[in-house]
């Protein structure tokens, strides 16, 4: 008479290994990505050979190819964006303001904002660019 042997229990170590891998991937993506240039629309910065490394922190104003704006990832209109940035500049005069504009965005959507910021005393306004052939 043959008695069915119970199936051997799977070792719990396989789950630990899975968690290890997921944790590793999580830390990897947190390290190589940067979250200070996000926008709810597609933004491909212009290419430039003379860009300098961009530090973190500050405020990011994203401009889409059609002129839509987003401040720190939240869609805004031009008036509200300027108002909020000026309020932050009043608290923090050396605030770094990044203009992350799409390379096909027309300058009439971008330059008035920079002029407003500069007129209100912003000292650190930078354009976000990317080196040629980045990401290829």
């Amino acid at each position: 008479m043959r008695i069915a042997r119970p199936a051997p229990r799977t070792a719990p170590e396989t789950v630990i290994a899975l968690i290890d891998v997921v944790f590793f991937l999580l830390v990897f993506f947190m390290l190589i990505g940067r979250m200070d240039a996000t926008a709810p629309f597609d933004v491909t910065p212009p290419e430039s050979l003379t860009g300098a490394d961009m530090p973190g922190g500050g405020a990011t104003l994203a401009v889409a190819a059609d002129g839509a704006l987003a401040l720190d990832g939240a869609p805004v209109d031009a008036g509200a964006a300027a108002e909020r940035l000026l309020a932050r500049l009043a608290d923090q005069p050396d605030l770094l303001v990044r203009i992350n504009a799409h390379r096909d965005a027309q300058l009439r959507h971008v330059l008035p904002l920079i002029a407003t910021l500069e007129g209100q005393g912003a000292r650190e306004v930078v354009l976000v660019v990317t080196p040629p052939d980045a990401g290829k």
Binding site: V15, I16, L18, I19, V22, F23, L25, L26, F29, M30, I32, G33, R34, M35, A37, T38, P45, P46, E47, S48, L49, T50, G51, A52, D53, M54, V63, R98, I99, A101, H102, R103, D104, A105, Q106, L107, R108, V110, L111, P112, I114, A115, L117, E118, A122, R123, E124, V125, V126, L127, V128, V129, T130, P131, A134, G135
Partner: protein
């Protein structure tokens, strides 16, 4: 008697903590960071002259002032003459101390402006300013 009973009672075995919710949370965080981050190599170029000490007004420009207009087609022009970027670089390299003013039309793209700023900076010019026309109310 009661004490002896309590001493011999076996400790209730703890229910094993399930690792599945933890894996769920980790996976959600992983997907969140993968989706919200940008992985482009991002650099910056200054858009505002942060050196307040350098008076932008009629300060002595040894080589004069060069006005570069930027048309809607992205071509820079000096004194009405449309130039290629190589010609612009050659023109500017001869007068590196000039004050360069870039006047782009509002219909030009960001890439056109950044390319001109690249060329100007690459030609050794240190004093550059981007201006725009504004309708007087």
């Amino acid at each position: 008697m009661a004490e002896m009973l309590s001493l011999t009672r076996p400790r209730p075995s703890r229910a094993p903590v399930s690792l599945v919710p933890m894996i769920d949370v980790l996976l959600i965080m992983l997907v969140f960071f993968m989706v919200t981050s940008t992985y482009l190599d991002l650099d910056m170029i200054p858009a505002v002259d942060s050196a307040e000490g350098a008076a932008p007004g009629p300060a002595a420009a040894a080589d004069g002032t060069v006005l570069i207009r930027l048309g809607a087609d992205g071509r820079p022009a000096i004194q009405g003459r449309s130039l290629l970027h190589g010609e612009l670089a050659a023109h500017l390299a001869a007068r590196p101390d000039a004050q360069v003013i870039v006047l782009p039309t509002g219909a030009a793209t960001m890439q056109a402006l950044v390319s001109v700023m690249d060329t100007v900076t690459g030609a050794g010019v240190t004093r550059m300013r981007v201006v725009r026309l504004e309708a007087r109310p």
